[in-house]
Symmetry: C2
Subunit: 322 residues, 2 copies
């Protein structure tokens, strides 16, 4: 394999794009972070799409200028991808049925010609795929990646493959684990979603709702917890209880051998993981008990997954041409 | 293909064995039902295993006597199969780590020689596979078969394949959908399982607990419901509410396009299906809405799935030998 072959990988987030030029062995030859423009509903998030296209083209130019050959492009986005039409719906980006794949294809074709395939995927699934191929889930055949960040979604590994579900699967964060009067309305329109108590955003919001005090995200709630603040303890307890319910249900239904927790909250380390392990262990009866571990690829997981998927596609295309 | 090639298929239930000789095109050339001996814990369900072995051997002899060639054997059981060791744990059969595959192999080898492969699978997964290959789920790539019988378990079709989860996946019946004081202890040791309110057995038991009147299973509860009995209505309502919760959760997490309800309860037809459809429709927001339909293969689903899996194995073995 030519050491100068690379893929262009971009993890498009609501505030930042994490970008890389990644070799076939996973080595990141170049990495950079760019700001994502603020999405505007009036132009359907056009500025975000333009910034993405520009980034992909400029990274490709950089690769070429440095003597690398661009083999494929991998882009991951925080939204639902219609695989048939290549369109994306993403609330944070103001995209509604936006033809992202077609626009990427046009931009990449103009820059590199027809031979560079493009993969468009979901950010959490891509992160889970990276953990599966080279991170905390390596060696498993049934496992889950669950990043706890601003939102919560799962990447599911089932019988050795990353689940797609046509782009819809894995919405554990929008499954109901809070019942009765305690259920709050979620941004998705349902009541009592896991995300309403266990995301980093929910923990900060719920602490403020209890105390009237503004906090600097879940990080500050965790600091208050460590300092013995009883409201922080209650918010934390509610999050843990819902997470245990969610992990038990996932274990019962999908039978993972390992669950890797990621996202900002996993910065709490054993303060988060140990109660989850104990809570899950106490609840299981006949089920196979999963290991519960921290994800290892951190904020780069999505970009690395985009790169891995792009390399997979390049390999499959080559196989087909033989 | 030789029209006289068949597989031996047995669906071993707690009270009956449904058996067939099935051709490659799915035609059932012979079908019979045999009683399952009562399982005795003192001999580890040995009588059940002996009856299974005898049935498999006799069906093979019958096939041979009628000029058919036995290409493979498919056996499905109501228990957890350890795929690595070929052992089965099945409460109703008093099997605990019972080496079913090895015993089947010895019996089949003695009867037919070394060339007849054996598939051992879970009855609900086999039933779901039959619905997927030739029944209500044909043409789907993401779907679920949910038989509501004495117990409840799901067969999951994900991205075009039947999920195994090493034999552990699909236990939707033992997922928690009843909360707080309403949660009853399940036979599995957990509280508030779907099975405690929505299985046919649970509906009869709960009606008796409310009224003191013994009923002839869920069938009589449904008759009482039709006659306007308020206790039957409450038992039915509780079952429907929990089922809606379960279908919404499954839809959110796994994104099926179609759900086929099977088992005895589906005899209620639209009385069951229409409220499930309405309940699920009312709850979904961003999710893809699945069709909710009746399974079509009825009590033969498990046997037909066993036959399909046996034919798949025969084909794969042939492929390998080429």
């Amino acid at each position: 394999m030519d050491p100068c072959e690379v893929v262009v990988a971009v993890d498009l987030g609501g505030t930042r794009m994490k970008c890389g030029l990644v070799a076939a062995d996973g080595a990141v030859l170049h990495r950079e972070t760019r700001p994502t423009p603020r999405a505007d509903a009036r132009d359907g998030g056009r500025a975000v799409l333009d910034a993405l296209l520009e980034t992909v083209v400029e990274l490709g130019q950089k690769a070429t200028a440095e003597g690398h050959r661009v083999r494929a492009v991998g882009v991951v986005v925080p939204g639902v991808i219609d695989a048939e039409h290549g369109t994306v719906g993403a609330e944070n980006l103001e995209w509604v049925g936006t033809p992202v794949l077609a626009e990427l294809q046009a931009a990449v074709r103009a820059a590199h010609g027809d031979h560079v395939p493009i993969v468009l995927a979901h950010d959490v699934r891509a992160g889970g795929y990276a953990e599966f191929r080279q991170g905390a889930l390596a060696g498993t055949t049934n496992s889950m990646f669950l990043p706890l960040g601003t939102g919560i979604a799962a990447a599911m590994i089932v019988d050795g493959s990353l689940v797609s579900g046509d782009g819809y699967a894995g919405e554990l964060g929008h499954s109901k684990f809070i019942h009765g009067d305690a259920a709050e309305l979620c941004a998705c329109g349902q009541w009592g979603c896991l995300e309403t108590v266990a995301s980093a955003a929910a923990m900060a919001r719920r602490y403020t709702a209890r105390t009237g005090r503004t906090v600097d995200g879940a990080r500050e709630v965790m600091q208050l917890l460590a300092a013995g603040d009883p409201d922080a303890a209650q918010v934390w307890h509610d999050a843990l209880a819902a997470l245990v319910d969610a992990l038990v249900l996932y274990t019962t239904l999908v039978a993972p051998t390992r669950i890797a927790i990621g996202g900002g909250l996993v910065g709490a380390g054993e303060t988060l993981l140990q109660p989850l392990r104990e809570g899950v262990h106490a609840r299981l009866t006949f089920q196979r008990e999963p290991e519960i571990v921290a994800a290892v690829l951190g904020e780069e997981a999505g970009m690395l997954g985009a790169a891995q998927m792009a390399w997979d596609r390049a390999g499959a295309d080559e196989e087909e041409q033989r």
